[in-house]
Amino acid sequence: MIEILIMLAKVIVATLFVVAGVVPVMIWAERRVVARLQQRYGPNRCGPLGLFQPFADAIKLAMKETIAPLSADRGLYLLAPALMAVPAFMGMLLIPYSIGPHGYVTRLSVGLLLVLAISSVQVYGLFLSGWSSNSKYPVMGSLRSAAQMVSYELSLATVALIPALLAGSLDMVEIVNNQRGGVLNWHAMHYFPLGLLPFVMMVIIAHAETNRSPFDLPEAESELVGGYHTEYSSMKFATFFMAEYAAMWNIAALTVALYLGGWGGPGVEDLYSSSPVLGFILGCAYFLIKTAAFMVFFVWVRGTLPRLRYDQLMSFGWKGLLPAALGVTLLMGALKTFLR
């Protein structure tokens, strides 16, 4: 009974943390940070430092009229936002966020595969939203983004495989535990400097998979109006944004778990052995700090780099990243086989 209650509590906290914690903070933080990078003020009128801006936005959007084009494929058009949101809100399911038996929602022997499987479901929501709108710009946007996500998913799966190879397990908890004991044990630092290669690739792929700048072709405002969600309004439109921020968080958390030691940091294990609660909290804090830093990096990149052209994007994915990722996998396999 207690076991079921703890499980329910973890599931609810993990879901609501992403939906009601990460998303509003990111909406605010992205606008503030981008404003700083562009030497503007950003939102600073709603509440202290503009902190209430996301809530003002949400209330405004919720009170707007829902407009659907008559040409839309009604069922799929309505289904698409939910299909996009569900995998995004499930992101924390298998990522270990702290030390000990309560440091993860659940652990599976095929954890990494399931993480990749859940994240790839988003392509359906994204594609169906544009396809069912039956309107030019959304169809073009969704085709582009489906092709982009699918292409970079190959490299993502390959690069995500390398930590599993180093840890010898697909269980996310095992993968994080394999990185215990200091920065030098992080998978990004394995076989220094070779371990940095897949890590850097992972960071690039994270941007492409979440359709972030400089790979934000699906939303290229200047050519495609808004991309796949052009025909959506009110909170259905906002759902896409929430799902995108949640997906950013998920892939940042995945990168931290795979390459940057997850919850690992100075003092977690010592503190955990003397006081489990404090050690657990410190582990959570390290995990949150690392992931939040990655999120800020997303915004920093957006403020710095110009957008790629579509053919550059595709040829970079297929001719650059994919062979490089496969090569690095083989290299890591060789190092692990012969160097020990």
């Binding site: 084009p69 008559l70 949101a85 599976l108 959304p138 169809v139 697909l170 025909e231 083989l330």
Partner: protein
């Protein structure tokens, strides 16, 4: 407890939250539909051509290539997971080398196909 139960529970919760966020506020806003509002977006004009369901063939090529390489990746995952079950002894080292050689041969075949696709222009975007 079966570790797959939280997967289902979290899926159900995410579905509920997603539906509430996406569909709930639809009840709040005004509803004054008009023909102009409900037309497809076309910079304020009536769309002159119906959108045919004809797509550039490039995209289906991407889909086929994706399937090919994704299936190939599925074969690499067991190889990665297999390391944890091996010990330190000499036979195990021999097994490791064998596994590595097998994966190299597998990826070698794949590389031949990849080079073929590249040379035939399968990866070009015009």
């Amino acid at each position: 407890m079966n570790p797959y139960i939280p997967v289902l529970v979290m899926g159900a919760l995410a579905l509920v939250v997603g539906c509430v966020v996406a569909y709930g506020p639809g009840l709040l806003g005004p509803k004054r539909p008009s023909r102009l509002k409900q037309s497809a977006y076309e910079c304020g004009m009536e769309p002159i051509s119906k959108l045919g369901r004809r797509l550039p063939v490039r995209y289906s090529l991407v889909a086929i290539l994706f399937l090919l390489f994704d299936v190939e990746l599925v074969f690499l995952f067991p190889w990665a997971a297999w390391w944890g079950s091996l010990g330190e002894g000499g036979t195990e080292q021999a097994l490791r080398v064998l596994g590595f050689v097998e994966v190299s041969i597998f990826l070698g075949f794949l590389t031949v196909g990849y080079i073929y696709i590249w040379r035939r222009g399968g990866l070009e975007w015009d």
